[in-house]
Amino acid sequence: MSGVESKCQGVRQATYLLILCVAFLLTFGSVVIYSASMHEEGSSLLVRHVMYVGLGLCGALFLAWKDYAWIQKNALWFFTVAVVLLALIFVAGEVRNHARRWFVFRNSISFQPSEFAKLALIVFLAWYGEKYSEQMKSWSKGFIYPLLPIGLLLGLIFAEPDRGTTILLGALTAMVLLLAGSRWTGFAALFTAGISGLIYIFSTQSMPRQRLMAWLDPEKFKEDQAYQIWQSLLAFGSGGLEGMGLGNGRIKIKFLPEQQTDFIFAVVGEELGLFVSIGLVLMFALLVLCGLFIAWNARDRFGFLTASGITFLIGMQALINVAVVTNTLPNKGLSLPFISYGGSNLMFMMAGVGILVSIAHHSVKSIGQIGPSPVEPEELLRA
C-alpha cells in the first residue's frame, strides 16, 4: 500500500515539476522573444506570442481536465484530418522561404498543419500500438502496416518541403513503434538505407555536398551557405560566460536571420551567456525525465505510448534545435519548443503537455482506484 502511495506521490510531483518547467520555459521564451524582435518589430511579436500562450493554455487546460480516452477513440480521425490538411496545403497553402508549409487566413493568422500532424501521428501510433499490442512482433502488423499510412504522412511533409520535421517524425515513429514492441531489425534496416541514401546523395550531387562542407567549416562559407550558422556561432561565442546582458545582443540585430524563431537559442546564448544556455538545456532534460516518468506510470498502454511519444517529441525537437544552432548538426529548420516564436508550434506543444498532464492525472486516479500499479515489473507476473 505504501508503494502505491509513494508512486502516487511521485507522479504528482513529476507532474508539478513538468508544469513548472513548462511555465518557466514559456515565461523565459516571452522575454527572449521580445529581446530578439524588439529592434525590428517593437512589442508586436511579444503581444502575439502572449496571445498564443493564452490560447495554448486554454487548450492545454481543457485537454488536461478531460480523460484522454476520447483521444484514443478519435485517433484515426485525427490522423485522417492531419493527412487531409497536409494534402490541402498543396492546393491552398502559402509559400514562405521557398517552402509551402502554411495556411494563411486574412494575411495575418497562419496555421502550420505539420505541427498538428506531429500530435496526430503520436496519437495514431499509440492507438495502433495499443490495438495490436499482441501482434507487434510480426513483420506485417508490427512494421509494414503502420508504416504505410505514416509513410504517406511523412511523404506529404517531406514534399512541402520540410526535411527537419520529416526526420524528427521518422525518428519518433521508430521510437514509439519500438516501445510498442516492434522488432528493431526492420528499423535498423531502414536507418541503414537512409544513411546509404544520404551518402549517395552527397557523393553525386554538388549542392548537398557544399552544404556538408559549409557545416564542417562554417567560417569558410560564412558569406553564403553558412551565413546563418556563422552568425549564430558569433552570437554564442561573443556571449561568453555571462552574456552581453539581456537585450544587448548585437548579432541578433539584422545579422542573424530567423533570430526570433529557429535561432532564438543563439539570442539566449549571446545575451545571457553560457550558464543560462546550459540551464535551459538542463531544463529540457528535466522536462523529458518528468514526461518519461509520467509515461512509465500511465494507466494503460495507449497512455504510455502517447506520453512517451510527446515527451520524446519535445526532447528531440529541443535537442535537434540546440544542436543545429550550435552547428553540432547541419542546419534544419526546427523551432525550440516553448521558446521560439510561432503560434502553431507553441499551441500544439502546449496541447501535448495538456495530454501529458491528463495521462498523469488519470494514472494517479487509476492507481488510487484499482490498487497495485500495473507498471511494477514484478507485478507483471501476477497479471
Binding site: H39, E40, D67, A69, Q72, K73, E130, S133, M175, L178, L179, G181, L233, L234, F236, G237, S238, G239, G240, L241, N248, R250, I251, I253, K254, F255, P257, G269, G273, L274, S277, I278, V281, L282, F284, A285, V288, L289, L292, R299, D300, R301, F304, S308, F312, M316, L319, A323, T326, N327, T328, K365, S366, Q369, I370, P374, V375, P377, L380, A383
Partner: protein, 649 residues
Amino acid sequence: MSNTSRPDRVVPVQPLQLQRMLTFTVLLMVGFAVVIGRLIYLQAVRHEYYLAKAQEKTRRIYLRESERGKIMDRQGVLLATNQRIRILCANLAYIDRYNDKMARAIAEYLEHKGVTEEGIRQRLELNYVTVKDKSVLDPHVRLRVKVTDEEYNGLKDYIAQYPFNEHPELLPESEQDFVKQMKRWAVFVESVDDFKRLYPNGTMAAHTLGFTQSREEVWSGRTVFLTKGIEGIERTCDEWLRGAIGWRETERAPGVGELREYRYRDLSPRSGMNVVLTLDAGIQAIVEEELATGVETSKPMSATVIVVRPQTGEILGMASYPTFNPNKPVTAINNGDASKNRAIMDQFEPGSTFKIVSIASALSEGTSRLNDTVYCENGQFSNGKWRLTDDHSYGNLSVMEVLAKSSNIGTYKVIREVGSQRFFDYIRGFGFGQPTGIQLPGELGGKVHHVNDWRDVTMSRVAIGYTISVTPLQITMAMAAIANGGRLMQPMIIDRIEYPDGRTMTKYDPHLVRQVMTEQSTLDITKALSQVVSDQGTARRAELEKYTVAGKTGTARKIVNGRYTHSKHLASFVGFLPAEAPEICISVMFNEPEGRGYGGIHSAPVFKLIAERVANYLNLKPSEWYMPAEEMPEDLIVQTRVMPVHFQP
C-alpha cells in the same frame, strides 16, 4: 473502451519496453550532454575568438572632421571660411518615368563637378531593398554627389525651368501636375559632417592665403582623408587652423546604421583657431584693382605690389600677378606659375632701387653728406679695367641729385668712399641675402656674394643693384627701414590667433630686427628720396597732390642668354608717404613690361594710384599739416571704413 471502467484491459509494460525506454532516455541524455559540451566549447573556450570576429563586424570608428579655422583680415573680414557640404538625394517616387531626363538635367547643371549623366541615371534606376525577406521599392536614393547650399539652390532652379516635355501645355492636367510636383520634391539634400573650404572673395589675397586640399593621411593606423593646407597661410598655420579631429566609436548593424545605445566613445571635434592677418581687405582690394589696371597697360610677365606699415612691419596688402582662384585648388596646383607668391619667391637683380642702400650706407657712415658734390664724368667712367655709364651725361651732382637722377657713376663714387667691407655689412644689415622670416612658406633669401668673393668690379655693380639678387619683400622692407628711422622690422603677416569664439589666443608683436643706420642719416636720405619724386627726379609720375612721397625707381636690365639685354627690364618703384612722417611703404614691380621698361613709366603711376587711394582709405593727414613724429596720434591708422568686397564663391 474507457480503461478506468475496465481495469482488466490494462496492458502491462513489459521488460523489453523498459529496456528500450531506458536506451532511448540514455541516448537523449547523451545528446543533451553533447550539446552542453558544445556550448561550453563555443562560449567558454572560443569566446574571445568569436567575440573578436563579432566586433569586427559590429564596431566602427567614425571620424568627425573638425571645422577648419577661419582666416580674417585685421578688421575681421572673412578671407577664408567653410561651407557645409550636403549629399544630394532623390526621391524616385516623384521621378518615375522621367528618370532619363532628370539624370540629364542634374548632370548638365553639375557638369563642372565631374558628374556624368550615366552615373546619375544608374542611381535613378528602381532601387530595391530587402526588408524582412521581401523585396520592396525604396524611393530614397543618394546620388553620391556632394553639393554646397548654393549649388543645391542653383540645381533646384535649373530643374524648375528644365523642359521635361516639349509641349507641356498639351499634356493632360494630371501629367502637368506630376511634373510640377517632381520639380518641387524630386531632389533634396541630406546634411553630413563635412566642410568645404571657401574663399568668399575669390582671388583676393590668393597668394597670401594659399589653398587647401583633401590629402590622405594616416590617423591612428587608418588611412583617412583630411583637409590640409598646401600653400600660404593655410600651410604655415595648418596646425592652428585644422583643429582636432573628433571620433565616434560605436556599433552598427546592417541596414540599421549606427546603434546609438552602444556608442561608447564620442569625442566632439574641436574647431580650428581663427587666424587674423595684418592684411586689410580694403587695402588689398585697392592694391589688386590698381595692379590689374597697371597690368593691363604695361602687360608684364609678372608683377607684385606690397604695402607695408614701416613702424611695425605689418603687411597691409600684398598681391602678385598672375593670380589664381584658391576655390579651385586643382587648377592652382597644376598652374604653379599662377600660384607662386612672387613677393617672396621671385629673386631678381633690383637695379637702381638698390641705390637707396648704397647712398644710405654712405650717409650713415658719414663718408658723404647730402650736399657733397660728386663729379659724374659726363656719363662715361672707366678705370682701364671696366666701364660704368649713365643713361644721361651729368657733370657735377650733389649726393642728393645723384639719387634723384639715379646716376650710376655718382653712386659708385659715393660708395667707393665707404669701402667694400662696410658696404657689405650694410647690405646684410638691411636684410639682403637671407629670408626676412615672414610666416609664409617658400620664402627665398636672394643672393649676396660674400665680400671676400668680390672682385674689383663687383662693388661698382652691387652699388647700382646688379650681381646680387633680392626678393620684392626684401627691397620693400629695406625701404621701410629707412622710413622707420633706420629700424629694420621683420615683416608681419599674422596679427593674432583667435579662439573660435573670438577671444585672442596669441598676439604677434612687431619684431625689430636691428637698427641698420643712424636715425639722422635717414632724414637726409628721405630728403633725397623725396627729390626723386619731383620734377627733378626720375619718378615725377609718382607725385601726389596732398602728400610728399619719398621713393626710388628702378629699371634693371635682365639677363637673356648670358648678356644684359636692352629689351627686357624689371621696372620697379619703392616709396613711402608721407615723407615727413611715413605711414605706408609701397613697392610696385613689373617684370618685363611692354615697351621701354622704365620704372618711372610703368611702376610709378601705379604707385601713385595705389598710394592716393590707400592714403584716403587710411585717412592720413595731408602733408600741409605736417606734425612731428612724437605728436602723431597713436590711432592714426585706425580704419574708418571697409571697402565693399565683392562676393565670388
